[in-house]
């Protein structure tokens, strides 16, 4: 009886496996992608890209759930609370962007070093370990959610710290995986050849990984805890990630437009000097109100106010180079997303960041929807865009370097995806900006940030309609994403013409 039941289960499972294998086969027949066009390093890169896209979809799904709860607070109450949805939303974002960056670097590594990747086997193992860990972490977020106030909760459920909520066991796993990745990079450059891009990339990765460790510790003293927490968050997005994007951008501009190496590398050094010169001490703009000494008001205000300068330099660089090469490129969607990156980074981080970075203003905007407005435009503009540009570079090569321009079959898809995603995020940003102004004014300035003041601001019609508009533009963003995924799977399918890739001058 018992064994019969077991046999039944196995049989059913067998049917299920067969059926899903069938679906997988159908899917593969439909996308018609042939991985033999890719080098082994690039096969690993596209694995990272695929998981990145899946997590991007998860990010948007949970963002929509959280946005719905602002309007219908009873929605999923005590099933998937706002805190859970928001945690998955922002954690999925950090992780998919890191996956994207890893993919970009595996993608350019062989080309830049002139040799095959050293220790690729370990790179592949690390990918599966990381992906397994991410899956478990997300399942625990969704199913277990919270624990008692004990160390074991922080080790196995979540650490309860924005953006880096992953429990401690996963932190350690992440560090191990990053070390493997780092070994691949350094060993490959050492075997092949070093370059300016290689040097900046290596040092930047050391800093990026080292900073993560600063966020792994528990502290009773919340001032100390937030002090280190900002080391990770700020020094990632306003220093090391920004330089990583500079590296990826430098390489892409050479490949997409044929810009000379000497020019991109000189620009890269200029960007590093300006970015680190302003961003490292700009960290002080998070030390105004957490208990830290008053000198941070001056230092943080001054240096963070300089942070937009490198972003202007990056726009000039990208747009000037594109213009100087008459926008002649073999991959129009990728170039369009690179231009979107230059402007998105400048507006989201530079302009929106600058607007609330002086302490006299931040006293009122701190911790309001103002921050959310800036956070959305900055993360999307600076980091989602560059990853999407790279997805297009990857798919073009995967399809066998086919022609990918404005006039290809179904070009409306990439154009509409570009338009809907950018319009959606921009719309959400404006809605949140209005909500942020209202909240700074009513809650912070007039009511003095009490509970009553908080709810007074949340009940204002201006705030509530802003939340509705945010949801509306969130749906626009989501539709853009659906289109983007569809386009990435189909663009260049059946295209016979080869792309004319620019020669390096």
């Amino acid at each position: 009886m018992k064994s019969g039941g077991l046999a039944g289960v196995i049989e059913n499972a067998g049917v299920l496996v067969d059926r899903s294998r069938g679906y997988w086969q159908d899917f593969q027949n439909w996308v018609q992608l042939d991985s033999s066009t890719l080098s082994p390093g690039r096969q690993l890169a596209v694995k990272y890209f695929i998981v990145a896209v899946i997590l991007f979809c998860a990010q948007i799904l949970f963002g929509l759930l959280a946005a719905l709860q602002f309007i219908f607070p009873g929605f999923l109450y005590e099933i998937l609370d706002f805190s859970v949805n928001r945690m998955v939303h922002i954690n999925a974002m950090i992780v998919w962007m890191l996956y994207g960056f890893f993919g970009c670097i595996y993608w350019l590594l062989e080309d830049e070093s002139g040799t095959e990747i050293v220790g690729l086997k370990y790179g592949n193992i690390a990918f599966w370990v990381l992906t397994g860990a991410v899956t478990i972490v997300v399942l625990v977020y969704l199913l277990v959610q919270i624990g008692p106030g004990k160390d074991s909760s922080l080790w196995f459920i979540n650490e309860g710290r924005e953006y880096i909520e992953a429990p401690r066991w996963a932190d350690i796993g992440i560090v191990a995986v990053v070390l493997t990745f780092f070994y691949n990079v350094v060993a490959t450059f050492s075997k092949g050849k070093w370059s300016g891009i290689a040097g900046v990339l290596t040092l930047d990765l050391v800093a990026l990984a080292g900073l993560y460790v600063a966020g792994m510790f528990y502290m009773t003293n919340i001032t100390h805890e937030q002090y280190w927490w900002w080391w990770v968050i700020h020094l990632w997005v306003e220093a090391t990630w920004e330089v990583l994007v500079g590296v990826i951008m430098a390489w892409s501009l050479m490949k997409l437009l044929g810009v000379r190496r000497k020019i991109v590398e000189t620009w890269l050094y200029i960007e590093v000097a300006l970015m680190f010169g302003s961003g490292i001490l700009g960290l002080g703009h998070h030390y105004f109100w957490i208990g830290t000494p008053e000198y941070w008001l001056t230092i943080g205000g001054f240096f963070s106010a300089l942070e937009p300068i490198p972003l202007v330099a990056m726009v000039v660089h990208a747009v000037y180079d594109a213009g100087a090469h008459s926008f002649k490129t073999g991959n129009h969607p990728a170039l369009a997303w690179i231009i979107a990156q230059a402007f998105g980074n400048f507006f989201g981080a530079g302009v929106w960041g600058f607007m609330h970075t002086l302490p006299q203003i931040n006293l009122y905007t701190h911790g309001t929807q103002w921050s959310a407005s800036h956070g959305h435009l900055a993360f999307f503009g600076a980091y989602a865009t560059i990853n999407i540009a790279f997805f297009y570079l990857a798919i073009q090569h995967w399809r066998g370097d086919v022609w990918m321009a404005g006039g290809i079959k179904n070009a409306w898809r990439w154009k509409w995806a570009l338009g809907l995603l950018n319009a959606g995020v921009l719309g959400m940003t404006i809605a949140l900006l209005i909500a942020g102004y209202e909240q700074s004014f009513i809650e912070r300035a007039v009511e003095g940030s009490t509970w009553g003041g908080y709810f007074a601001a949340q009940s204002q019609p201006a705030f509530q309609s802003a939340m509705t508009w945010r949801l509306f533009f969130g749906l626009i963003t989501a539709s853009g994403l659906v289109l983007l995924v569809w386009d990435l799977l189909t663009i260049g399918k059946g295209e016979e013409r080869k792309a004319e890739m620019p020669q390096q001058a």
Partner: protein, 198 residues
């Protein structure tokens, strides 16, 4: 062809990048040592944990031209006087509970976190707790049973039940009391505490 001027040369910018980065980082390290020292529990800016035995208020300081915490005489928490070590343990339990329950993904603490629920920086001093006598009990009841004790001010946004035990709730209250004593350079501005006369 003209020579590349110094300011446009690759090697000049490479050196500049290295020096600027190293210099900024060095300054940050020095400031970090100083900031951590000035904000260790038991300093002017971040009081010792046994501050939970005292009355804490938050008032506008005319001379400094900003809001400042004001530490007064004895005002025991849960009718008990804690030693520094007992107080640290209680605050630690509270802090750990706020992380394990993921408070920061709805609330802000010191202004950092999410924007779905009120800032907790000065929650201990909020007029919502009506009077110093009623406060402790109301806070414990609210934390352990938020669905029933929520005041949503007409928004319908209620805190979920997070399974907080009584011991944890006491820890959280102690943590909030201690946090309200931190000198946050005048954030939040214009906050009226439950001690303020109108």
């Amino acid at each position: 062809m003209n020579e590349t001027p110094l300011w446009a040369s690759e090697s000049f910018w490479k050196k500049t990048a290295i020096w600027v980065t190293a210099g900024s980082f060095l300054i940050l390290v020095v400031l970090t040592f100083d900031s951590l020292k000035q904000t260790t529990a038991g300093t002017q800016r971040v009081p010792a944990y046994d501050v939970i035995n005292k009355k804490i208020d938050y008032q506008f300081d005319k001379e400094l031209n900003k809001f400042m915490p004001v530490i007064g005489g004895e005002e025991l928490l849960f009718g008990k006087e804690y030693t520094e070590e007992e107080a640290r343990e209680l605050v630690d339990l509270g802090k750990k509970t706020t992380q394990a329950k993921n408070c920061m993904n709805c609330h802000t603490l010191l202004g950092n976190g999410a924007y779905y629920a009120p800032d907790l920086t000065k929650a201990w001093l909020d007029q919502g707790w009506i009077s110093p006598e009623m406060r402790e009990d109301m806070m414990l009841q609210f934390l352990m049973n938020p669905e029933k004790n929520a005041r949503t001010f007409g928004t319908g946004r209620k805190m979920p039940n997070l399974g907080i035990t009584e011991a944890e709730a006491k820890g959280v209250v102690a943590f909030l009391k201690w946090m309200s004593s931190i000198d946050t350079n005048g954030f939040p501005y214009n906050f009226k505490t439950l001690y303020a006369e109108d």
